[in-house]
């Protein structure tokens, strides 16, 4: 699946907070590539640096050293204007608490980044409606956030993160405030968007949600200590007589 040009590249990323005796290394030399169509989950105990990683990847914080390339552009050296444009056009961010604007309807929330980018209100609304439709939320377009359930709000937030052909979606504990069934459906949606070509990074401490990813990266003390490799359900499926594929070796362990 990996294609030659990753959507996101983190190169030797380091972030130090404070100086001298109080110096804290939140990230120590992280390298990570995320390709189109790939969903990567980042797991680790609290304090391992996973949220710092995401905020830096999204241009919300700057690294002490290292590079962050989004579709080939280094956002650490881009000017403020260029960075703002990149964040509007290339990067979608999904927060744990949805961060929808309460005074705007679902459609207006989704259209907002497009309008900020200079797209006409009419075109912005058309795109927003299409994005909501894809999430199965077309019927909620004119509702306000407080008229929607948590799961619906989070799906609107994902629509907002991906509207206008943005190809990188960064999600920070997007299921944190949802019950597990709803969380699962939000993850399924993120998965579908990545299957359709977006690149996703998901920070979570829930193994069940991380399991939707193609690759799970484990952080500890600001460094990548391990990651899963994709073994492919296809190979599991191929070997079994019934064509379904159990995992005898895991079960019989």
């Amino acid at each position: 699946m990996p294609s030659p040009q990753p959507v996101l590249q983190l190169q030797q990323l380091a972030r130090v907070h404070g100086t001298g005796a109080t110096e804290v290394h939140a990230l120590r030399g992280i390298d990570l590539d995320v390709h189109p169509g790939e969903l990567v989950a980042v797991m680790g105990p609290s304090g391992s640096g996973k949220s710092t990683l995401l905020t830096i990847a999204g241009g919300l914080d700057t690294p002490t050293s290292g590079r962050v390339l989004v579709e080939g552009t280094d956002i650490t050296t881009a000017g403020r204007k260029a960075l703002a444009a990149l964040r509007r056009r290339s990067i979608g961010y999904v927060f744990q608490d949805y961060n929808l604007i309460p005074a705007l309807t679902a459609a207006e929330n989704v259209a907002l980044p497009r309008e900020l980018d200079g797209v006409s209100a009419r075109k912005g609304r058309t795109e927003a409606l299409a994005a909501l439709e894809e999430m199965g939320l077309g019927h909620l377009a004119d509702r306000f956030p407080d008229e929607m359930s948590g799961g619906q709000q989070q799906r609107v937030a994902i629509a907002r993160a991906l509207v206008g052909d943005r190809r990188l979606v960064l999600a920070d504990e997007p299921t944190g405030a949802l019950d597990s069934e709803t969380g699962e459906s939000v993850l399924g949606l993120l998965r579908t968007r990545c299957d359709a070509g977006a690149a996703g990074v998901l920070v979570t401490h829930e193994p069940r949600f991380a399991a939707w990813a193609d690759r799970v990266v484990f952080l500890r003390d600001g460094a990548v200590v391990d990651q899963t490799v994709r073994s492919g359900a296809d190979s599991l499926l191929a070997g079994q007589g019934s064509g379904r594929g159990g995992r005898g070796q895991a079960v019989e362990r």
Binding site: G49, R208, A210, V216, D226, Q227, A233, G245, G246, R253
Partner: protein
């Protein structure tokens, strides 16, 4: 894992022959617990000995058919009605391994935990992909619904099981770190006391400097 009761449950749907039972068992459980035909026939002959099934005729192709008896039906009812036996928990190799790793010389228990965690999460990824497909198959309405539902339930059981394992591993790591931190903060022993052996936990699970909440 009760093959006996699994076979009885299938026979309740009507008489069947050995390899048919095997393939139905596997399509119901997604071949998660593969059976060989030998196991099926051994189990059938024990069921027959106990009066729970009886041989009755052949099908058109000449396969010997087995049918459930009334005693067999009673046995099956009581199997469904009763919770599974937990009086002797299944031996869990992972729990035994971690118990042995505490204080084992030359073993970094955090590495033991991490390598298991990677394996466990990877298994969850596999199960989750299979589950997404099973859901698709159900929603699209193709194929035999009953088998797909049964397979989905088995898959979700595997996901819950691996999830519990992953959470328990996280818990073990956090627990070891807390214990190590507490023993590092404890006052040094008075002079004259025999030196305590190096704490297994303190040796292997010391939190590194520079940890920080993010």
């Amino acid at each position: 894992m009760s093959i006996r009761h699994g076979l009885l449950a299938l026979l309740e749907l009507g008489p069947r022959y050995g390899s048919q039972l095997r393939s139905e068992f596997e399509s119901r459980t997604g071949a998660t617990w593969p059976l060989n035909v030998g196991q099926v026939y051994t189990t059938l002959s024990r069921l027959e000995r106990d009066g729970l099934v009886a041989q009755g005729g052949e099908d058109d192709a000449g396969h010997a058919l087995y049918a459930i008896t009334d005693t067999g039906r009673d046995e099956l009812r009581s199997w469904y009605a009763q919770p599974v036996d937990r009086t002797s928990p299944a031996r869990d190799e992972l729990a035994i391994k971690l118990a042995m790793a505490v204080g084992a010389p030359g073993v970094d228990i955090r590495e033991v935990i991490q390598s298991q965690r990677r394996h466990t999460v990877q298994a969850m990824q596999d199960y989750t992909r299979l589950k997404a497909r099973a859901l698709d198959a159900l929603e699209s309405g193709r194929s035999q619904e009953r088998d797909d539902v049964a397979w989905l339930l088995v898959l979700e059981q595997l996901i819950f099981q691996t999830e519990a394992e992953a959470r328990w591993l996280d818990h073990c790591e956090a627990r070891l770190i807390r214990i190590a931190a507490a023993s590092a903060a404890a006052p040094p022993p008075r002079t004259g006391d025999p030196a305590p052996p190096p704490g297994p936990v303190a040796e292997t699970a010391r939190p590194r400097a520079g940890r920080r909440r993010t």
